[in-house]
Amino acid sequence: TALIGDESDDSTEDADVPDEPIEAGLQTFTEGAPAVLGLQAQYGAETAVRRINDDGGVAGREIDLDVVNEGDEHIQNYRQFVDEGKDVTFGPISSGGHEAMVPEIEDRGVVNVATDGTVTTLYEESFPDATYSFRFQNHDVMEALAAVNQAVEVLGADSIDTYAGINPNYAFGQDEMALFSSGIEKLTGAEEVYSGFPELGADDMSAHVTEVNGTEPDVVFSSCWGGDATLLLEQAHANGMFDSTDLLVGPVLYGSANDLSADLVDGPIYSGSRNFYWDEPGTDRWTPAADLVSEVQSEYDVVPTAHFMSGYGAVTAWATAAEKAVDVLGRWPEQDEIAAILEGHGFFTPAGYHTIGADHQGYSNAHFGELAWSDEYDAAILENVSVFAPKDVSPPPGTVSGDWIDAW
C-alpha cells in the first residue's frame, strides 16, 4: 500500500499482533566489484523498509533490517540470521549462492525471498516443491528472451543472419547465452559465429572483442554486468567493435547505469532493465515512480536500477503477504502461513504489478531500451523502452524453459 504511494488501508489495526519489531536480514554484495548491483539491492530494501516503517509498519510492526555482505558464505549467512532469530531473510544476489541456500531454507523454515539469484533450473527442476524459499526477481529466461525480442524489433528478423556472444564465464553467463542462442535461432534462423566467455571480473576482454571484430556478427549478446559491463563497453569502443556489428544487446548492462559515461553508451547498444526501469511509465505520468526516483536521488545520489527493485520488491512481496496474512488470520502468521500466501501473491511496486508464481519466482514486465546519457542525472538512461509482458518472455510456471522455447 504505502509502498506504491497509495493511501493506506487500516484493516489490520485490531489484529492480535506482537509489539516488537520484525527482525529481518538481507544478504547482498555490499562491497567490491559486485557491489554495483548489491548496493542497489540494499538501497531498494532499505527504501522499502523506510517507507513501511514511516507508514506504521507491517500490521503495526516496524521492520528492523540487518544487512550483511553475502561474500561466498550464503548458507552460513542464512544460518546465522536464523540463529539470531530473524523473522524473515532476503537476498542473495548470487545465483549459485541462492541455489545452495534453498534446501537449507526448506530445512530451517524461515522464509527467504531472494532478491536476485537467478538460476533457470532452480525452481523448474531442482526444487519444484519449495515451501519457504522464494525469488522476487523474474524467471531469468525473461531477460535473455527479452534481448532476443529486442534485437528482432530493432533490426528485423530478416536482417539478423549472424550473432555472437560475450558472457561472463560462470553458470549465469553460460545459461543466458544458451537461452539467447535458442531464442534467436528460433526467431531468425541466425547462426552463431562466435561465443566467448571472459572470466567474471576479468581485467581484459580485448581478445573477445577482437574475435567479434573478426567475425562481424549482426548482433552481439552480452550478459556482462557490473565492472564487466563497463570493461566490455570500454574495450568495445577502443577496439572499434561498433564498426563491426549492428547491435549490442545486454540484459544487465543498465545495472551499471551510475558507473557509465557519455562516451561509453554511444552506439547501437540496447540494455535490459529486468522488471523495472525507473522512467517507464514516465515519471511525468506515474507519480509513484517520480517519487521513488527523487527519494533515491536525494538519499543515495544514484538513479535506481533493476537491482534496486530486486531489494525493494523482495521486501515488499514479503511485507504485503504478511499483512495479508494478518488480515486473514487476525493474528501474526507462522512462517508456513506467510509462505502459503506468498505463493501466487500479487502486489504493486512503483515498477507496476508483480506476481509470485506457484513456482515461487516472480513474474512481471520486462524492460528493454536503448542506452543513452543524461547529464541531468549524471547517469545512463534508456530511450525507446520496450515492455514485454511476462507471458511473452517467460515460460508459464510448471513448464521447463527449454521445452517452452522449442515450442515457439
Partner: protein, 377 residues
C-alpha cells in the same frame, strides 16, 4: 626456514593432561555452549573442519617445512567426492559419502604429491597453488560439477543418513535438522580425536623424524639414505587425506558444495593461516586457529562494518604478541602471567613496553617518511 622448537612440549605432563581434558570437554560441550551463548554452533563446526584440514597441512609445514598454498584442493576434492556420490549415484549413507571423499582426495593427493615432491620453498608453494587453481578452473568449467552453482549433497531433498543415529534422536523427539547436526558434530569430534592421535603417533615415529630431517636439510637427508621425494610424497598424501576427510564432513555439514568456498586458492591461504595462527609448532594449534579464523571470516561481518580490518588486527596482534601462535605461545604466556601474579608491578612494565614499542614503530615510520620525502636524516 627455521621453525621454533616445540614449545608446548615443554609443559609439565600434568598441565598437559589438564589441557587435553579441558579441550575435550569444551569440544563435547559446544552444542550446549552454543545454545546458552550467542556463539554459532554451525560456524564452530565449520571451523573445526577447516582446523582438521589445517592439521594435515601442518604435517607438511612443521615437519617437512614445506608451505602449501594449495591445500584446499583436497578439501574441495573431498567435498565434491561426497557431492558427486550423492547427486549422481544417490548414495545416502553418510559414511559411504565420507569414504568417497577420502578416496577422491587420496587419488588427487597422490597425483599432485608425485609431481611436487621434488620442489622446494616457494616453488613448492606455488606449484601446489597452481594445481589447486587448475582443479578449480576444471570444476568451474565442468557441467558435470554444475560449474559455479555446485552440487547438492542430498538425494532429492533428503539429508544423508548418519548410521541411523540421527533417526534415533528424531524418534527421541528431536527436530530432524538438529538431530542431524548433533550427530554430525559428534562424528566430527570423534574423527578429530582419532586424527590427532594418529598424527601424534606419526610425528613421533622414525618416519616423523625422517620428515623432520628432510625439512631441515634435504641434501643431508638424501646423503644419510632417506629417499626424500618418496617420503615427501607419502607425507603429502597423508596430509591430503586429512583434507579429504575434512572436506567430506564439510559436504555433509553444508549439504551443498560450490567451487569458490571449497576449491579456490585463497581458501588454501586461509587454511595455511589457521595453522600459523593456532601455532605451527603444536599438534592441535591448527584446530584452534581454524575455529578462530573461520569465526572471524564468517561472522565478523555481522557485527562491524570494517570486518576485514578487525580480522587483520587480530592477526597482527597474534604476530606481535603471541610469537608462536595462539596455542604455541600458551606456555610462555602462562609463565608470564604467573610471574605477573606474583609481581603485579610487572604489568606496568608491560604497558610501558607496549607503549614504547608502539611509539618506537611510529617514530620509525615517521623518520622513514621524512627521509624519503625531504631527504634529510
Amino acid at each position: 626456514m627455521s621453525r621454533a622448537r616445540l614449545s608446548a612440549e615443554n609443559l609439565p605432563t600434568s598441565v598437559r593432561v589438564v589441557l587435553v581434558v579441558l579441550g575435550l570437554g569444551v569440544l563435547l560441550a559446544v552444542p550446549d555452549l552454543a545454545r546458552v551463548t550467542p556463539l554459532s554452533f554451525a560456524t564452530i563446526h565449520k571451523g573445526l573442519l577447516f582446523g582438521l584440514a589445517a592439521v594435515g597441512l601442518n604435517l607438511l609445514l612443521r615437519h617437512t617445512e614445506l608451505v602449501s598454498f594449495g591445500h584446499v584442493a583436497f578439501f574441495g576434492t573431498g567435498a565434491y567426492g561426497a557431492a558427486v556420490l550423492a547427486t549422481y549415484y544417490e548414495v545416502s549413507s553418510g559414511l559411504v559419502l565420507l569414504a568417497g571423499a577420502v578416496l577422491a582426495a587420496t587419488a588427487v593427493a597422490l597425483v599432485v604429491g608425485y609431481l611436487v615432491a621434488g620442489h622446494l620453498d616457494i616453488y613448492f608453494a606455488l606449484l601446489t597453488l597452481a594445481f589447486n587453481q587448475v582443479l578449480f578452473a576444471f570444476v568451474v568449467q565442468s557441467s558435470f560439477f554444475n560449474s559455479t552453482d555446485g552440487l547438492s549433497v542430498r538425494v532429492g531433498v533428503d539429508r544423508p543418513s548418519l548410521l541411523g543415529l540421527d533417526q534415533l534422536l528424531v524418534s527421541a523427539g528431536l527436530d530432524p535438522v538438529q538431530a542431524y547436526n548433533y550427530v554430525l558434530y559428534y562424528l566430527t569430534v570423534a574423527i578429530l580425536v582419532v586424527v590427532v592421535l594418529v598424527t601424534w603417533k606419526l610425528v613421533n615415529s622414525p618416519f616423523g623424524r625422517a620428515l623432520d630431517a628432510i625439512g631441515q636439510d634435504r641434501t643431508r637427508a638424501r646423503f644419510i639414505g632417506i629417499p626424500v621425494e618418496r617420503y615427501v610424497w607419502i607425507a603429502f598424501t597423508i596430509s591430503g587425506i586429512y583434507g579429504g576427510i575434512a572436506g567430506g564432513l564439510f559436504a555433509l555439514l553444508q549439504l551443498h558444495v560450490r567451487p569458490e568456498p571449497v576449491l579456490f586458492a585463497f581458501v588454501s591461504g586461509e587454511i595455511l593461516f589457521m595453522a600459523i595462527l593456532g601455532g605451527v609448532g603444536t599438534l592441535v594449534g591448527p584446530i584452534v586457529g581454524g575455529v578462530i579464523l573461520v569465526y572471524l571470516l564468517d561472522l565478523a561481518r555481522f557485527y562491524v562494518t570494517y570486518y576485514h580490518a578487525l580480522t587483520g588486527i587480530v592477526l597482527l596482534a597474534v604476530v606481535y604478541f603471541l610469537p608462536e601462535g595462539i596455542l604455541g605461545s600458551l606456555p610462555a604466556l602462562g609463565a608470564a602471567i604467573e610471574r605477573r601474579r606474583r609481581d603485579p608491578g610487572l604489568v606496568r612494565n608491560d604497558v610501558e613496553t607496549v607503549v614504547t614499542s608502539v611509539r618506537r614503530s611510529v617514530r620509525r615510520a615517521v623518520t622513514t617518511v621524512r627521509i624519503l620525502v625531504f631527504g634529510v636524516n
